[in-house]
């Protein structure tokens, strides 16, 4: 069987350069294992070898991150290892963030990578989607246990195998949902779990509640003097959809004029999340030009922008929503808009 070639990353302390006084050390490459790399090689057995060890001072990585990462990328591209291991950094914040940087560099080159981190290390959040993060203890006294968990995972990844579930592979969940077949049907699981819940016994949800960003609204403005825009999520487009805005999972948005009104002769919806008939009959229910004009006439709002910002939110992944939201906000700002009325469906 082919030997697994591994590149290891450690900081100046574990690399034997020195302590805090040496934290500014520039990246250096050593052949073979260094410090904890020897324990890792031992734990992996005869089928694997650390071909090189990258060492960098924690302060250097934190302060000159781009430079450090470019160097790491260059070395990894030259070595082309089967798998990369960073750390373990335990609970050390700067070292953890450096490990996350190594993960980003390796993942960018398509190399499988493992970081050993204490679950509360700030590096975990940055690394876990790119790498396999193995949870460790808080400090180096748990080195042996950490290497015992990293070694089999590195072996599997080095051989190009699927490491399996987080429990089986010994890594922290990566925030990825993957389909699997359960032993029981959804109905059987639902009833069993509900009975446990009714008895006051432990039960486990199959979908944990995610934590979304909370947006703090800015300070109020004087609306009677403001330039206000309308923006709708309802997928309103000129009839025939000339810009080919997608009905679901949309990637495009547009500004359209309201100079000639928002009439059903001119506009329609392409939204794939609701029965289109009511809005096709009266697109004003999605883009409330009539109400906005009345308000502008009565002094409720200063001026109304003559275009509306249109997008389609049906089944849009969060990452795409964030991108669309950022683009809309920038464009609205550039148009001098001070307030926006955002209608959703």
């Amino acid at each position: 069987m082919k030997e697994i070639r591994l590149v290891h990353y450690v900081n100046q302390f574990f690399g034997g350069v020195g302590g805090e006084d040496q934290a500014g050390t520039a990246p250096m490459l050593r052949a073979g294992p260094v410090g904890p790399g020897r324990a890792l090689e031992q734990a992996m057995g005869p089928g694997a070898r650390i071909v090189a060890t990258m060492i960098c001072g924690d302060n250097f990585f934190a302060e000159r991150r781009d430079e450090a990462m470019a160097q790491v990328r260059e070395w990894l591209a030259a070595e082309q290892p089967d798998v990369v291991v960073a750390g373990p950094a335990f609970s050390s914040g700067r070292y953890g963030l450096a490990c996350a940087g190594v993960c980003e560099a390796a993942a960018g080159l398509g190399l499988p990578v493992i970081a050993g981190l204490y679950p509360e290390n700030p590096g975990v959040e940055m690394a876990r989607k790119l790498a396999y993060v193995v949870g460790t203890g808080e400090n180096a006294s748990s080195m042996r246990a950490a290497m015992a968990r990293i070694a089999p995972l590195a072996g599997a990844l080095g051989r190009g195998e699927d490491p399996g579930s987080p429990e089986a592979g010994g890594y922290l969940p990566r925030g990825i949902r993957r389909n699997v077949f359960a032993d029981q049907t959804a109905a059987e699981r639902a009833v069993a779990q509900l009975l446990a819940k009714l008895r006051g016994e432990p039960f486990e949800t199959e979908i944990p509640l995610p934590q979304y960003d909370r947006v703090t609204p800015p300070a109020p403005i004087e609306l009677g003097k403001a330039l206000v825009a309308l923006s709708s999520e309802a997928g309103i487009v000129p009839r025939g959809n000339p810009d080919r805005i997608e009905s679901v999972r949309a990637t495009r948005w547009r500004r359209y004029t309201m100079a000639g009104g928002v009439s059903p002769d001119v506009y329609q919806t392409v939204h794939g999340g609701f029965n289109n008939d009511p809005i096709n009959a009266d697109p004003l229910r999605a883009v409330p030009l009539d109400a906005a004009r009345a308000s502008a006439g009565a002094g409720g709002i200063g001026r109304l922008h003559e275009e509306f910002w249109s997008f389609c939110g049906a089944m849009m992944p969060i990452a795409q929503s964030e991108k669309t939201g950022r683009e809309l906000a920038v464009d609205l700002k550039q148009a001098g808009v001070q307030a926006v009325i955002l209608t959703a469906t």
């Binding site: 959804a186 009975l195 944990p208 049906a314």
Partner: protein
């Protein structure tokens, strides 16, 4: 007390032959395709019908599936199967009903393009063998596949009615072959009195009410804009609610799983042992938030009045309808009725996007039927039933092809009938 004897006639094989008959000794169902064609084609909206058999393990793929129905026939007692469609809309769920277990009538067809972005037919495949078979519960049944060809000139509402009428009539006709025979096994279903200390559990069964091609019928009636209503689980067994849902295949509300409601079955199993099964609440969903809240409150109110201390809520469809299901769970929890909500995840292909459109802290028990966007590779097959091309494309349906699981019938069944789920990786 409403009591239904459900007589089971297992089907181990299905063949086409000269006479429609069920052989009790061999458990073989023989179907006279000519008679089926005559029954169906007396409707002028239906121009042609192909009748085929698809058995577990067969090297074939069924595409453009509309609905699946288990053959059932009412043998004694008042009312009939599929009330409001094949029989008057009078109360059903009592007497004796025969079922051909392990057999299914699978309807395929293509509606003329509706032009709507939501109210339209979506791709729907069932692989009887190979890696795709594991994703569909209907790779496990002996299927009589009815591939309809529509006569031009009618509206989709009319075709929908004709296709449903024909498919349900064929299902009833097949089960009628057992009419004078004794079943292999028989079970009597009734919600009899139990130890009053056992907690009551109600089943809130959400069904689609988006509109034509994406809805369901209650005693033949469209539930759009109706408040949630209470039914006896035995009524479901007699086909009181049927699917008219041709949207995403994975999460589709399928008549087969309304007749064989996996949740009702499970709640019946433990009735008098671990809990008291209080009844079923059939709930449509709504478009506006204020209506969703009102509908959810009504579901919870009915559950409370049935004496429930727990509810299972099953969602239908994704997005919009998931919010109604989550609201129903929340409304129950606020009444101190503990609840579990069964629903589909709509993450992206990679699975690294949150899969639900709404989260309410009260819903602390969610049961996942999987991420509908994850891709599956289906190989080339020898034979395809239901159409040479995938809906609205030039892609040949023989494959090989890569599909999101939502295009496989029953893969993400929110009625609870299948085993797919998603886990954190």
């Amino acid at each position: 007390m409403r009591s239904l004897e459900l007589a089971t006639f297992p089907v181990r094989d299905l063949r086409l032959g000269d006479v429609t008959a069920y052989d009790r000794r061999t458990a073989v169902l023989t179907v006279d395709a000519g008679e089926v064609r005559r029954m169906v084609l007396c409707d002028p909206r239906l121009a042609g019908l192909d009748v085929d058999v698809a058995r577990p393990g067969d090297p074939l793929r069924i595409v453009n599936v509309l609905d699946v129905v288990e053959p059932r026939e009412k043998v004694s007692g008042t009312g009939g199967v599929f009330p409001g469609i094949l029989s008057p809309p009078t109360l059903t769920g009592a007497g004796v009903t025969h079922r051909l277990a392990g057999a299914a009538v699978v309807a395929t067809g293509v509606f003329p393009g509706s032009g709507d972005n939501l109210l339209r037919q979506e791709n729907c495949t069932v692989d009887m063998s190979g890696p795709g078979a594991a994703y569909s519960p209907f790779s496990q049944t002996c299927n009589l596949v009815l591939s309809y060809h529509l006569a031009p000139g009618s509206a989709n509402a009319e075709y929908d009615q004709s296709l449903r009428q024909a498919t349900l009539a064929v299902a009833r006709y097949l089960a009628a072959a057992t009419r004078d025979q004794a079943p292999a096994e028989s079970a009597t279903y009734a919600l009899g009195p139990v130890d009053p200390d056992l907690p009551g559990i109600a089943y809130i069964c959400e069904v689609p009410t988006f509109g034509l091609l994406f809805r369901s019928l209650f005693y033949g009636m469209d539930l759009q804009n109706s408040l949630p209503t209470c039914v006896h689980p035995n009524e479901l067994m007699d086909g009181a609610v049927v699917g008219a849902d041709y949207h995403y295949a994975g999460q589709r509300t399928i008549t087969y799983f309304l007749q064989n409601s996996p949740v009702a079955e499970e709640l019946y199993r433990g009735h008098g042992v671990t809990h008291r099964f209080c009844g079923v609440i059939v709930a449509g969903h709504f478009m506006r938030d204020v209506d969703k809240v009102r509908g959810a409150e009504q579901s919870a109110r009915v559950a409370e009045m049935l004496g429930a201390r727990g509810t299972i809520v099953t969602a239908c469809a994704g997005g919009n309808a998931l919010i109604d299901a989550l609201y129903a769970g929340r409304s129950c929890e606020r009444l101190k009725i503990k609840s579990a909500v069964v629903l589909v995840e709509m993450a992206n292909e990679a699975g690294d996007d949150p899969g639900l459109p709404d989260f309410t802290a009260e819903n602390d028990l969610l049961i996942s039927v999987g991420n509908r966007e994850q891709l599956v590779d289906l190989p080339r097959v020898e034979r395809v039933l239901g159409g040479a091309k995938l809906l609205g494309t030039d892609t040949g349906s023989v494959g090989p092809m890569r599909l999101p699981v939502r295009e496989i019938l029953g893969a993400n069944n929110e009625q609870g009938g299948w085993r797919l789920t998603a886990r954190a990786y």
